[in-house]
């Protein structure tokens, strides 16, 4: 058992959780202002593609990350215009955005990146280097947890506290509460409801794009078709499981990242003499979220104005 549960497992879990945390926070900022966001998956995928492509073309992962955030915001803008201006159903718009991202990223991958490979150019992305510091490595527990991590991992684990602060301590945060709870009342009180919603949705795109960039610039080193592989939906699950609260989302996303890390570690090894099927471990985030939604872990309360 000692060789399965150790600090290195937590280290892997942190890496697996990073895109989930970023995307879940994005989803949170959108849902807190009342806009349902099932398009996280597509924005992650576009972010992963844009991050990889821009880094391949410029050699700079910073440019890659920025491009991923911009493309995420652009896809979010489609969702914002569709739901706020054209009053499209939030779910349908989200489904269409996921489909558009899947089609477009694969199309562009085959048109731009694959031909490069065929010409013999490398499609391996020089992403962010891990933080290296002898001082950090020498720290007892933290040293192992942060070994070979990129700054994005640290950022993802700090960001929820920043979001919590912004929600509770700034005028913007109070307005988010107002819009999410009762947009009609908020408008009467002079809160610019539409602008708040645009901001929330665009921020969700920026963060989901960043989550995608993490995949190509700090996790895998090249883009692959549909590489987001359901992470947007796990992030959505983490957001719900964490009850639309930044720290709750952080804890849930970390928990789901932990399942992924455990599954990668186990690869058929027995735990306590029992063979744990990897499929059932991978299923846990979804199953737990359904159980949470039924209310077995206490009452779930989404923002009351969600979806209007």
């Amino acid at each position: 058992m000692g060789d399965i549960f150790d600090l290195q497992l937590v280290n892997t879990a942190m890496r697996q959780a990073t895109p989930l945390i970023l995307a879940a926070l994005g989803g949170l900022l959108s849902e807190r202002v009342g806009v349902i966001n099932i398009g996280l998956e597509g924005k992650i995928l576009m972010g992963a593609f844009a991050g990889a492509l821009a880094t391949l073309l410029t050699g700079s992962p910073i440019v890659g990350l920025a491009s991923a955030m911009v493309i995420g915001a652009m896809f979010a803008l489609i969702h914002a215009v569709a739901t706020q201006e054209l009053r499209t159903d939030h779910i349908i718009s989200g489904v269409a955005i996921n489909l558009l991202a899947l089609g477009l990223s694969t199309y562009l991958y085959r048109q731009i990146i694959l031909p490069r490979e065929e010409r013999g150019e490398s499609s391996v992305v020089q992403g962010f280097a891990p933080i290296r510091s002898e001082w950090l490595d020498s720290l007892p527990i933290l040293g192992t947890l942060l070994r070979d991590q990129t700054w994005l991992v640290l950022f993802a684990f700090v960001l929820p506290f920043g979001v919590l602060w912004a929600l509770n301590r700034t005028r913007w945060g109070l307005r988010v509460y107002a819009v999410g709870n009762d947009s009609v009342k908020a408008r009467t009180m002079g809160v610019p409801v539409k602008r708040m919603r645009y901001t929330g949705v665009l921020l969700s795109g920026v963060l989901a794009g960043m989550a995608g960039a993490f995949l190509t610039l700090a996790s895998a080193d090249q883009f692959r078709e549909n590489m987001s592989a359901g992470r947007g939906f796990i992030a959505l699950a983490a957001l719900i499981f964490g009850r639309w609260h930044p720290i709750g989302a952080l804890v849930a996303a970390f928990g789901f990242g932990f399942f992924e890390a455990l599954q990668m570690r186990l690869q058929g090894q027995p735990v306590f003499g029992v063979q744990l099927p990897t499929d059932l471990i991978l299923m846990l985030p979804y199953l737990l979220t359904v159980i949470a939604l039924i209310g077995l872990f206490g009452r779930m309360k989404p923002p009351s104005d969600l979806g209007n």
């Binding site: 499209t88 159903d89 039924i294």
Partner: protein, 339 residues
């Protein structure tokens, strides 16, 4: 009418752009797409039947998953879970269909009905959770898609895997469980006829019976329907059972009529395409057949374009997404007053 024309222009604009960006002339691109869609072979390696076959095969699945989404929406529920229901139906069909101890006469009907039944039950759970625990069906059906993905994979690896094969798949179906192809060497089976018939039956049921009226009343305005004496909870559950049954049947038909086995990576995406089919067909069962044809022709057409010029097949996916957005933004705007 003007909106429909504008929509056609938007879609053709996107399609032209994608063809041009893939390095083809727009005229040549459209010629190939139309040939693939209506079954004129662009080159001598392909026969017209291949194109028709591909279109009819896709249509079979798209009609059924489109019906699945449409029925649920008629009752006011958004079934994003057709993919998972399809997988469950396919897994069960792969299991029952490979058994050799069943009487010939019942083997095929039993395989199909159990596939539909398990799909129905897989849809029933989210509906129950919605009605009695208030869990949003969109979220639960998404979660159920992934639960189905891992559950069917686990069952396949642990219990259903063909022991003589290294590939994660069941054994080949018993002959008694196979649904015959529509013509020799076709991948389209008689499932196509089943799908079209079901669409017509559902049309009649939804629009010509009291039950259907009550389902639509529940979806249109739940409170009003309840005040009018409609047992809204029961109608919602029944509609969702039917929806899951359609998706489960799609999976079972793909197994007994085309693949003859269940395997890892079974094409569950047809469940998501059902959303586009239902929306484009305004949730009408008969129109689902028409919109399933449009989607299948688009896929068949872009497939020809892909074979002949190497242009990415995903052109069809992008166009489908644009179609959904356009239809949703123009025809399905919320009736709610600004607020």
């Amino acid at each position: 009418m003007a909106q429909a024309l504008l929509g056609a222009l938007v879609v053709l604009g996107v399609l032209s752009l994608l063809i041009a960006l893939s390095g083809n002339s727009i005229g040549q691109g459209y010629r190939l797409i139309v040939q693939g869609a209506i079954g004129i072979p662009p080159s001598d390696q392909l026969s017209p039947l291949d194109a028709w076959d591909a279109v009819l095969h896709d249509m079979t699945l798209l009609i059924l998953t489109g019906l699945s989404v449409a029925i649920a929406l008629q009752a006011g529920l958004f079934n994003i879970g057709a993919a998972g229901q399809l997988l469950m139906g396919a897994m069960v069909a792969g299991w029952i269909g490979t058994r050799s101890d069943l009487p010939t006469a019942v083997h095929l009907p039993l395989t199909l009905s159990l596939g539909a039944l398990v799909g129905a039950l897989w849809a029933l759970v989210p509906a129950l959770l919605k009605l009695y625990r208030g869990a949003h069906e969109v979220i639960t059906t998404i979660m159920f898609n992934y639960i189905a993905l891992y559950l069917t994979h686990w069952l396949l690896m642990e219990h259903l895997q063909d022991p003589t094969s290294d590939v994660p798949r069941t054994a080949f179906l018993a002959e008694t469980a196979q649904l015959p192809p529509l013509g020799s060497f076709m991948q389209t089976s008689w499932g196509f006829v089943i799908a079209v018939m079901l669409a017509l039956v559902l049309w009649a049921v939804l629009f010509r019976t009291v039950w259907g009226y009550e389902v639509r009343a529940t979806g249109a305005n739940r409170d009003a329907a309840e005040a009018g004496g409609v047992p809204v909870n029961r109608r919602t559950l029944q509609a969702m059972l039917l929806a899951g049954g359609m998706a489960g049947l799609a999976g079972a038909i793909e197994v007994v009529g085309t693949q003859y086995r269940f395997f890892e990576g079974f094409p569950a995406d047809y469940g998501f395409d059902g959303i586009a089919v239902a929306l484009l067909g305004a949730n009408h069962p008969a129109l689902a057949v028409v919109s399933a044809w449009v989607m299948s022709a688009l896929r068949g057409g872009t497939y020809y374009l892909h074979i002949e010029t190497g242009a990415p097949k995903e052109i069809a996916v992008i166009v489908q997404a644009v179609l959904i957005l356009y239809v949703a933004a123009v025809y399905l705007r919320k009736r709610r007053v600004e607020g």
